[in-house]
């Protein structure tokens, strides 16, 4: 008989203690960040969308070999006068539909001091069709005005 009431007391006390936990956090300030207005700052090593610097790239294909899902494709530039390949790239394309954001291409890229393919801190990027996932950087030798990627804002 006695421990019947003891269990009731224990059950009641445990339930009340559980409610105290929620009561305490009822008064604590919330932790949510209201995304469009307040934004968290991304850390220095953040792996956002890839960007490409077409001047420094030497078309050495190391990033293509390193990529696990083979989403990079490029074509080395040919000097129109001498018809020989030069250490520049004519177009460079990344298929962001397959990219794993794994940073292996950036680590494989030999260009100094800034790598020609590297991660940016940009994570807000939506697209409407699958075609937009194929981002192409072209570097026409004769043309004067600098060409940027078809839809990529310069970062």
């Amino acid at each position: 008989m006695f421990n019947y009431f003891k269990t009731i007391y224990k059950v009641g006390k445990a339930l009340i203690q559980g409610m105290m936990v929620t009561w305490k956090s009822f008064w604590q300030p919330a932790v949510t960040v209201q995304f469009p207005d307040e934004k968290l700052n991304t850390p220095e090593r953040f792996r956002g969308a890839l960007t490409f610097d077409k001047e420094t790239c030497t078309a050495c294909n190391l990033c293509i070999k390193a990529c696990p899902t083979a989403c990079i494709s490029l074509e080395p530039a040919v000097d129109p006068a001498t018809k020989k390949r030069i250490a520049k790239v004519s177009w460079y394309q990344i298929d962001f539909g397959k990219c794993n954001y794994c940073r292996l291409c950036e680590e494989a890229c030999p260009t100094k001091p800034i790598k020609s393919v590297r991660h940016t801190h940009q994570y807000e990027w939506g697209m409407l069709e699958r075609k937009e996932m194929l981002v192409k950087w072209e570097r026409m030798i004769p043309s004067t005005e600098p060409l940027t990627s078809t839809n990529m804002k310069p970062i």
């Binding site: 445990a14 203690q17 936990v21 850390p43 696990p68 794994c102 940073r103």
Partner: protein, 376 residues
Amino acid sequence: MNTEIVKIQGQDSKTEEMILNLGPQHPSTHGVLRVILKMDGEVITSAQPDVGYLHRGTEKLAENRTYPQMLVISDRWDYLAAMSNNLVWSLAVEKLMQIEVPARGQILRVIMVELNRIASHLVFFGTYGIDIGAYTPFLYAFREREKILDLFEEVSGARMTYNYIRIGGVMADLPKDWIGRCRSFLEWMKPRFVEYDTLLTENPIFQDRTKNIGILPQPLAISYGISGPNLRGSSNPFDLRKDAPYCLYDKFNFSIPTGKNGDCWDRYWVRIEEMKESVKIIEQALEMLPEGECNAKVPRIIRPPIGEVYAQIEAPRGMLGIYLVSDGGDKPYRVHVRPPSFINLAVLQEILVGMKVADVIAILGSIDIVLGEVDR
């Protein structure tokens, strides 16, 4: 109502048996799992899990990927504990190539894997609360998990698929005051355990829903090859970090929590205690973090010698192993992943019989499976 009328043998009276599909789209199957339940009223007469919805063929992919590229695929097995997957793959290749990782690299790996274990058990704690009906623990658990993911984001750049532990060491050393932030997280975490205990562990309704439910006797667990917290819940203190120490685990002192009678509550309690042990391990690891180089010398193109190796670690869900056969080329000849969730899930078809629908969810939640690892 098109319940198939299935006669139960040896019973002359016609009893209708309802076949109910639990999943693959169901709020509490933790992913795309379908369990075909034959039920008589609310009591289950037979349960048959049906897996394969998330099968991506990692073992076939491994045949034409180089060794470093496989790390990226390993992130996607148990996506709640990607560090453990990276670690087991790196250990397998290092064993094959007989590379010795410097002490600093190994301690960094221990810190990351233990932090990932806390994050993975926090997800278990949150979703198990929802399975039993309490919604608030989920939000508290994810408030803590966000702090861990921020730490991972600073060190590796990603929040879920880290690709941080590499063959021969780690991707890069710690950023400047990462250790300070990690210590402040540990201080923040300790009082939270007291909160969790009052909120769920000692809550009589929770205990009433989980005690003596889904009892897994030890011989049955061993014959089904169960590993990890589920096996320790049935009072078998088998933990690879103690029995087959890898990557300097023998240098830390921590205890292995084991349950008494292997019911849902014991499995839940073992995981909560394991989180507390992991906090202790990380503190000791932060103290003994030696200076110096954290990566071993690894050739640019990794070509391990011919041979085969089986490396296994104590992942949050059990014994994660890689059986790797190499033919000397730069791509593995055959890779087999020993997935703890896949093997732990098989016992479901035995312990679910005779239980009620509400218990099915409690038992499924207590075994804590991740479908990315079940289907590979």
